[in-house]
Symmetry: C2
Subunit: 450 residues, 2 copies
């Protein structure tokens, strides 16, 4: 891991996690073994499916989840916790286990995306960081997947860094790549996660020079005729004419960042062809979202750049997942399923195992097997026709690093392409509707009994 990520993330935590920890250390419940489950109650925005992203990034952060001197001093000075809690935090190491959906997997309401098992003390303090990472990255990946569906075979570039917090921008570039984007403008995403980067010039480049021709000539001198010239700083028709005159018919591409894109793209294509630049590509980058991309399917466009709508989740900037205690041991060591009962936010207690039921290779159900006990994963044997969705990430404190780094990103990207192919055709629609497949709960205890 590089220096730039060696930062303590331990205080990226809601104060109440540590307040509860302190009280639990006093009353002895801190040592009770617990199962926390991270899931989404619904798919926000009427989406057909969600995309899990952030898992590898989260595991990298959890591995370094430590309370250092700066963090402990702050907690002590502000009297956030008592001395016993400070001592606990100073020695904090996660010794529990985490299983969950592979990064890039699709998910549905109630899918147990991540399950954390450990003592109450070690598991409760991870809530805020786990949700921050998965809620953000999954929201972006879900939007990106829809854009990728709308774009079909045409490549998409992520260019929204300037419209997101500077670290969320890096995470967004990573999530978009996992969900099918081809590249990003964000160099840190390239350095940190191996995402391919792209970009040539902005309007400032043309404005810096005494003429558009000077700007184009200089760019071609520096980057070769295969570069992409931005042609809409002044008059687009004149810009295209100048571009081909300066670069020749081997000009790599032109970028259009304004105007009514179907009209402009058609006219630029015709002009390029008239000038003999028949292989010069057209990329468009003006306020695109999945709907705009879909509406350009018949236009002569070779690639898309997407900014604001991608990094803001195209109307759904957070996936809205929660992290809930679903089972715990009681004072005798017996497991008890638990869930909040009141009114509008009921959750389903009990440990879950999840499978995607398939018929002829197409997903039909999200099958969630619920138990109150410990031996949940044995239920997998009972669903041989379904694909088991959970894999181990951390086993008794040992992190499996295969989900991390750029290896993890490439693996997640491949996995996403694979699982998206399993979805029924109705999943591809952009309109608001119900989830593409239903979530079906089965009682593992009853199953074993029958």
């Amino acid at each position: 891991m590089s220096a730039s990520t060696l930062v303590s993330t331990a205080l990226h935590t809601d104060r109440y996690e540590l307040t509860m920890l302190g009280a639990a250390l006093r009353d002895g419940t801190a040592a009770r073994r617990c199962v926390f489950e991270l899931f989404g109650r619904r798919l926000p925005g009427g989406r057909r499916f969600g995309v899990v992203a952030g898992t590898g990034r989260l595991l990298t952060l959890l591995r370094e989840f430590r309370f250092g001197d700066d963090e402990l001093r702050y907690l002590k000075d502000q009297k956030v916790v008592d001395a016993a809690t400070l001592t606990y935090l100073e020695n904090y190491r996660f010794t529990g286990s985490i299983v969950g959906y592979r990064e890039g997997e699709v998910y549905f309401p109630g899918s147990p995306i991540m399950t954390v098992e450990g003592t109450f003390a070690e598991a409760v303090v991870l809530e805020t960081l786990a949700l921050s990472v998965l809620n953000h990255d999954s929201a972006i990946a879900t939007a990106a997947a829809r854009m990728s569906i709308a774009a079909g075979d045409r490549p998409l570039a992520e260019m929204g860094s300037r419209r997101a917090g500077e670290e969320s921008a890096v995470a967004a570039a990573r999530a978009a790549y996992i969900a099918g984007f081809a590249a990003t403008s964000n160099l840190e995403a390239g350095r940190r996660w191996g995402v391919p980067t792209m970009g040539t010039a902005a309007h400032a480049w043309t404005l810096l020079h005494d003429s558009e021709e000077d700007a184009f000539r200089s760019q071609i001198d520096a980057l070769g005729a295969g570069t992409t010239l931005l042609v809409d700083t002044y008059d687009i028709r004149q810009g295209v004419e100048t571009a081909v005159r300066v670069a020749g018919t081997s000009l790599g591409g032109v970028r259009i960042d304004s105007g009514d894109l179907p009209t402009v793209a058609a006219s630029v294509r015709a002009q390029l062809d008239d000038l003999g630049a028949t292989k010069t590509k057209i990329t468009v980058t003006s306020d695109l979202d999945e709907f705009a991309i879909a509406s350009l399917a018949a236009s002569p466009i070779d690639s898309y750049g997407v900014g604001t709508s991608l990094v803001t989740g195209s109307g759904t900037p957070t996936a809205g997942m929660v992290y809930k205690l679903v089972a715990r041991q009681d004072s005798t060591g017996a497991w008890v399923s638990v869930a909040k009962a009141s009114t509008d936010k009921g959750s389903k207690g009990g440990r879950k195992a999840a499978f995607r039921s398939l018929r002829d290779g197409t997903a039909t159900h999200e099958l969630v097997s619920v138990s109150d006990g410990f031996e949940q994963l044995s239920a997998a044997a009972q669903h041989p026709e379904a694909r088991a969705l959970q894999i181990p990430f951390v086993t008794s404190g040992d992190f499996d690093s295969s989900a991390e780094g750029s290896t993890g990103v490439e693996s997640a990207r491949s996995h996403h392409a694979f699982v998206r192919d399993e979805l029924p055709v109705r999943s591809l629609a952009l309109s608001r509707s119900d989830p593409a497949i239903p979530t079906v709960y089965v009682d593992a205890t009853e199953q074993r009994a029958t």
Copy 2:
């Protein structure tokens, strides 16, 4: 500055900034002096005003904007730039000047929120980072200000960390505090920026225990009767009864996180009063935004906690500001105003000076004086009835640190309260409309001539 912010932000940059830099170093335009202006073309979401936030955070990051070994190695390995550009970046130090709106200031369409003057080379590479920080933080602060208006004298707590990327969450807590929130749940925002933190317990606390009564008793043992108990895990009426029975009538507060809040708050208040807990406060935290807060004005509620809607900018997750070249020197050293001309994204060229015109202490106009030249700020003398809005942040490479750290945050918070008081009453409405005051451009050159 603490260890956790000593991270290179130099690659939080779109690739095209460095591509342009490389080409400009080749053709000599890298040394041309330029003025870049950061501004919003409009107030997104039909808001009446925007709130500038992120300035102090950005200055902290810009001061450390350096290309280290890791960054340079990546750029070299990936052939992003040539050897001459790598050498330039290795020695990069910003030697230009930055002026802008004070953090916490309100802004309108066209307000020159930040003006960066320097060589093209040193100024162009700051675009992405500057926009990332100011677009995110200002979007949050603008939403927070509306919530603060809706809440009136009742305190607001920011609790949305789990619904935002982990670093954006810290920035959101900071921005919300500047715009009038009283506290945050985010401990890192407390440690890094001095924002007051709050929080007691989640539903998991009650579920961890064998009974709600056990949970309440333990919390009171640890935190005293002045704590706030979360009463809606099971049955709210029973929860309130148990809370007062365990804590006594000196119970500090109860928190309600579900249900129809006007109904529930009224019934909980009546129950608390009946039980003699007349001073026990009620805080509510269930999916609030500025409209929900406004609708609760007549309910017996003492404070609000806001999560998702705050950190996502309540429908406007980015402020949509841009960073545009507005003036540059030509090859003779003369200044030239520049602006993109094409179709739908026209910007106003020229250096700007900005003033808030006031009448009887109430803002009437955003007055923006435009010049093509260098001596812009002298125009201030021509508007003695108006408040000058720009202050120096960096002068010839020297950073004024007064806007940074927790001192900067407190100062921004005070400044925001001051300037919000200057706004006309129509600014306080939550409905979509035009900006509360118009932006009026005047030609500084003509003014001086008359």
